[in-house]
Symmetry: D2
Subunit: 341 residues, 4 copies
């Protein structure tokens, strides 16, 4: 059975694997202090056209979120997120485990946070009997595949600066956002609009790894202590450096994002032509078609996917995910399969 | 410059790398629920001749220690360790970050904990104004390369059972302990004597990965929730499964441990013949020769190593570490280099 | 200016103060191990007609909530509350500071949680990528003065037992709930329906103090360690014992609850007669009248109160609170004042 | 049986109790924002001749320590203390429960920390694989009744400033230290030499309460949020204000400290004359006589005390504590009792 279940079903892109194989017997220092990591950080800063940032490589997304957020906040400070935000729902309380409340600011149709949601939270949190909202968490793409426009991100960034909040962006699938149709946020915009954000590797072609970019100077000090304190300082750190070096030494990261989006687009077009609708319009590598339950049953016999939610008595929303590794023939097969039902 | 600095300077053993390459484009479920992980767990249980254990694969040692210990203890319970214990000194307060005190029970010459140290701690912690010691942390080999004998481990285990304490063993370099000259603890003894322990991969031939073995039934429930809660649930979990499967499907794990010990032995013999002494007698892959400072200076120009401590005004203790990847010619070169000084 | 702002504006009921004065120079053991505490616990158990409970005396409500909940839950487990629940909004993230998520289960008109809200949360939390809901938090009265009926509480209790959840009840104002018109939950029902709950002293006539009652045997062990671990073990613990002994050696606790309700009723009747409505119908010592803003302004010049929220452009909801200490003449004056506006 | 077990066996000094009785029916705002608290803070600042400090009133010592230290430190930072430091041994891991390691810096004969101990810890903690020592914890008097000289405290303070560490002083029994024979540290020295410290009330004549004084501006911001976050914001906060106001509006605090020391001196002199020695020479309200075990047995039948430790096979060290409430006749009786043995 072919799987459209997620974008971490396979290993790594061939070029990344080759780079790891090639360097395998080299001796390097541990914990991310090696030349590969240094060089990868330089490449990323060059691609961002932004030099005044610290880049740290961590293994996974939840790990990156909890290490960063717990480092940035004082004990009584809280993060703001939409109700569907990954840290709010799908990280098993990892942020709270470090002592911080995640404030669910809004239940939005498109999974996006707006400045007005932040303002509302601030208006409700006025004294020391409540947590102090201090960090705004968003992801791009969102949990449901939508993307922020540059003006939307700028508006959030302005709101944060006005209210002395940190803007933190989870870029687990940033490659897909960067290459989406309609995207107008360049990689170089992120360090200018966010206080910190991470460039996802795990879901964008690497075996594992996320590149955390800290732009706000006040958040940089001693960050490696935080990484170790959370058990996230990776012994053979160069493995992360090698992968990000490969992704950013030319345009591989963007090519992989583009490819995954193209595969999703192809799926989306096929499904649309076959007469089905979607829960939400997404231009990234996650799409959410609505199928009648009997069709779902037949799909289940042939494909892996995620059942997102019940739309109504007779219909269900599925999540289908493509990636750098998606087999285009399988995409075509799926559409054909659907048309033959 | 050749490096004897640590056992995580290189990538992975060729067979492990090959297995990863071979499976690279296979689609599997994420987060360690794939067949590779299941099979690797089976292999490990078979090698231990012990079926009633849960095996979880995590990425790194500190991560494994903090996830396990924080899961096993109630908020007011503490871990007991020797002063040099890894959790006490070299994990940046990772255990304390989860809320638990590490009690430094003894400052021992050989880095080993004894039942009498535990008894002393228990005698000093008698009521609710002090933490309740509940878990005993040891590593084998210890931080300074020594190993426990079976009777020593049994004595600790008996003491723990008598006092209703958990015995947790950090096996970051377990391969080396298992294959050390003079070792009489079989892999099959560990699940019988410990409540939980981990079999290290990172320092024993894998790219990364530790196999946590939970033997005590009362510690098993919902453990995957704990892993995720600590940001340690690895998305492409199959990468850990593949590596441990390769290490345990035959005797590779033991062969690598044996090889690293042999290289250390060769170094040790050469250094001894050259007329130098050691801080401690170690049969594993870490050795601690004492050199005059002028010799150290010359070594520094040609080799990477860790300066362990000053022995006195004129002499220093170095830590030299070998591994599965150590180049035997380099070992011979080092000895020749030393003899030529 | 007379204050209807809260029920902790004054010190303690005269009988309580007298008991403290009388015992002032007696020597007792510290930390709640004295005879006053033991006897007070006995009186409470007698009044509950329930002997198999542990009673611990703590200083304040947030302290009691965080000590209890953090003790009852494993690291990845979460508490369920309504959105207005005290632990969710007015404890500055105290529960999260101990590592646990508070799940906001519902936004209810009457501030009450229902079994269906719990069921919905459980249905949404199905695997280790999400926290595990394990404890249900309610307060009686609720944050807006409403009370649960016995059948409502029984339904919650049944739901919790069915799903293996702990039911924890915050009784900061339990005296008022116990004596409310329409209340049909006896004190003896609480230990039978809850796993743990606390009987509030601070807001019910004592200088300070809350009596935590742990009924579920599995939650009792080593609880005093948790109290100390959270900095909540009170040195002169007998001060809490003396106060609860006085409250429960006869019916003082109930008399004070009854009096505070009567004062609220008198206020409510007067306000109603004066032609005003209420945000919610409350039979306890907190009432929420809606006044035009110009009336509010005049009240502000003469009385202290809490501005609860804006009802609309022209009207505001006020919170008026009465207590054991409320001066009946001042209640009458307020009504007269209102009628004269 | 008369008790020399501790200095919190009785209630409060009569003047304090009277002040509480007198104000009992006054209405004030909650949570320490009332005029009593404001005035008490002013009195304390006047007595310290130091205006640029924030004064917060908390209920107990462990609570104050954990709230302050967890507020002052970043997640990976640690506190330094002597092995016998209260936070290291007698607070049930309360500091670790907030995420921070307590580094046991030295095992000293007199219970005092020295700059050299701090320097040693700093020398051992050099990179991100270890916690970052950031706060020095001392108490005056120490756990065994000894006091720091001004030059000793100055030396610690200089060392902390040199290394950018916070100096935090636990003054649970500060009244006794301030009035000890040989003391040369004035109350006005504390805010000048420490970054924060607390003036103990619980053990110095109050029912409860500690006045935390924060002198370092960088530690002041939002501190009330921390207090609430730790469940330590006391509802009827004015009770703490009233007590400290009474203690500091004239010299009551010093008189009580002086009295408790005089009672200890009288005990010490009598015990010395009776031919017994002491574990340590203390000028404060805790003394540590060494008695033969048969004498201890007889004392046990007539007095409450703390068995501190076994001196040897035949002798034991007792801790005897006096206080503002000690009955001088009982002191005389004890000496007579001892002489009659």
């Amino acid at each position: 059975m072919y799987s459209f279940k997620n974008d971490y079903s396979e290993g790594a892109h061939k070029r990344i694997l080759d780079a790891m194989i090639k360097s395998n017997m080299e001796q390097t220092d541990g914990y991310g202090t090696d030349d590969y990591c240094l060089k990868a950080a330089e490449y990323i800063k060059n691609k961002m056209d932004y030099n005044d940032a610290d880049v740290h490589f961590l293994v996974g997304g939840t790990q990156t979120n909890l290490t960063a957020i717990s480092s940035f906040l004082k004990p009584y400070e809280a993060a703001i997120a939409v109700s569907t935000g990954h840290i709010n729902t799908h990280e098993t309380g990892a942020i709270e485990a470090t002592g911080h409340k995640v404030i669910s600011a809004a239940d939005t149709y498109d999974g996006k946070l707006q400045a007005c949601h932040i303002e509302k939270v601030l208006a409700e949190h006025t004294d020391e009997h409540m947590v102090k909202p201090k960090l705004v968490y968003i992801s791009n793409p969102t949990e449901i595949g939508t993307i922020y426009s540059k003006s939307e991100l700028k508006s959030l960034s302005d709101c944060c600066r006005k209210h002395n909040l940190f803007l933190y962006l989870d870029g687990a699938r940033l490659a897909s956002a960067l290459c989406a149709d309609g995207n107008d946020i360049a990689l170089s915009d992120y360090p200018r609009l966010c206080d910190a954000f991470y460039i996802g590797g795990t879901k964008c072609g690497a075996l594992m790894g996320e590149a955390l970019v800290i732009c706000n100077n006040s958040l940089k000090e001693d960050f490696r202590y935080n990484i170790k304190n959370k058990g996230a300082l990776f012994a053979k750190g160069r493995l992360l450096g090698i992968q990000f070096l490969e992704l950013f030494k030319d345009n591989l990261y963007f090519e992989l994002g583009d490819f995954s989006n193209k595969m999703a687009k192809k799926l989306k077009d096929g499904i649309t032509k076959a007469g089905y609708k979607f829960m939400i319009d997404s231009d990234t590598n996650q799409i959410f078609p609505i199928f009648p339950n009997d069709i779902v049953k037949k799909i289940s016999n042939n494909y892996n996917y995620t059942l997102w939610k019940k739309e109504d008595e007779n219909n269900s929303v599925l999540r289908l995910v493509t990636s750098w590794a998606t087999d285009e023939t399988e995409v075509e097969n799926f559409i054909e399969f659907l048309n033959n039902l």
